[in-house]
Amino acid sequence: MTTEPIAPTANALDAAPARPLWQVIFIRPVMLTVLLLILEPIVASVFWPQSLDLQYILSTFTLTAPLALMALVLTLVIIAGEIDLSPASSMALTACVFAAVQQAGVPFPLAVLICVVLGLVLGLFNAFLVVFLRLPSLIATIGTLTFYRGLAQVLAGDNSIKLPEWYMGLNLVTILGIPVPDLIVLVAAILLALLLGATIFGRQVFQIGTNEIAARHAGIRTRSIKTTLFATLGVVSALAGMMFVSQLGTVRYDLGLGGELQMVLMAMLGGTYIFGGRGSILGTFLAGWLLSIMTNAMNTASWLPATQFCLLGVLLIVSIIITNFIYSRTQR
């Protein structure tokens, strides 16, 4: 990683010495997740061995998959220095529309199109509020979070809308014994990781998140990139919705209620820096699995769901604290 000094080695006044390689590799927030991922099975094997069945882990992850999928894109948004709390709501709205139009007799392909376009619109609306009206994304997307789910409720009331029989059971289709939704998340993770790591787009996402003003001065199209990110997240929320309802065969306005916390949690646990500029797809991906596996353990242990609430809340705060701490130490 480190190249041999090009200029005569700098003295204290010119530059601080570079961090040793082992630190660069090991002292990073994602390690918290990795650690937990190693510890959990060990603990579980003692207390809740039933939760460690691989098939069980794979099949239950299909319930987390939609949120994980959105969390992966959300990671990019957060790295770019913004945040979006509305995806879970837009997932519910698009999914309700998806089911409703099909019940109204709209052919499947058209339904998919409508759903995706709607997702795009919802994403662009967030972008409009954040990028063009310059509203703080945290508050603005709290507004759309309430609004989008509200619309879903207006549309569907309290009724659950059924989907066509044949469309059900995506999670029961397996390739090499792995349920399709899990694979979708895996593929998405790989693609996004490449986008973030190997392309100029990903590079500029980091640069915007690190210092937006500097990015703008350097000729980076900050606005269009952020808009792209919000729009993508909107579309992905629609796709996630379609994936989710295929597993349920039905949809109600409360689909993925409160999912925003889990998504933010995945990103934070994965070591994404809440103030932007730092983070990794791998981290979010691992965090997604960690959450799913831990929830399994707690469910098989029949813990009060409340304790799971507490754990999520505490994990969120702890992971941010650790992330901030590590970054504040490794950046001078």
Binding site: L135, L138, I142, L261, C310, L316, I320
Partner: protein, 331 residues
Amino acid sequence: MNAVKSILLRREIGIFAAIVVFCAIVGIANPRFLTTDNFRVILLLMPLVMVAAMGEMLVIIARHVDLSVGSTLGFSAMMTALMFKLAPGIPWYLGFGVAIGIGAVLGLINGAMIIAFRLPAIIVTLGTLYLYRGLTFIASDARQIDRQFIPGPLKAMSANSPTYALPWIVIIAVAVVLITYWFANHSRLGRQVYAIGSNPAAAPLRGIPVTAVTLAVFSISGALAGLAGIMYASRWAFVNPSNTGWGFEFQVIAAVVIGGVSINGGVGSVLGVVLGVLLLSCVSAALPLLGIAGTVQSAIYGLVIIIALVIDQTVRERGILALASARSARP
């Protein structure tokens, strides 16, 4: 002469106008909306949100936000109710002390974490939103506390039977509003809250004890949420681990933002927030009278929040321009 004040004033007049127009429309659609009877209904919808909104207002003026008010309300309400259940003999008014105290502590915890680790309030309080809710479940063993455990006098405080001119919880809310008004405009600490929100970087250089003020603000917000908690026990005469205060934060934030409190800190008035709460209460009271399903409520809240945010942004930007061009007198 005082441009910012006048802008805000215009802003408050705007909300007031919105309320009048809304009431007029609903009144035409259904005259019963304008009866004293319905006025009581609206009046009784306001107190809880009003009290919590006063705290949230201060937090947002200080350029933070508190998402955990709902869970704080739930937890303090539950603890108070548990106290009544386990120690039936205890004087009912002690409940206020307990609820407010617990609320203050929860708020303090929020503030402490935000200060100690320099974290964004929104994420911390998003975490504690779930943490406090979870604790409520655990503390109550996920059991609802039924009305027979809520002391009679406490329940009576929100009775709007004709024998009461104004129910007590309304009077409490009014008192909180007046105190908050004094605090925000005439107390040293209150002004420091505005200062911090107005220019966080400058505050420490000006010798403003940022840490202390921030902690104070979050404690106040928590304490008021706690007060709202026992008012909940009084109003609904039961406390439920999952229902009580669930989603309450959205109503509160909506009210505050509609009230013209700037999410960029430093700007906001008690009067505005009061009007914001009033507007929301009118909306929810109107729905059943118009035969609109309750399911549209959250959509309306969301929409109203967004509109308010947009207005806030545009108004402020125009205001700044107006001020910038209005250069001060030079010799």
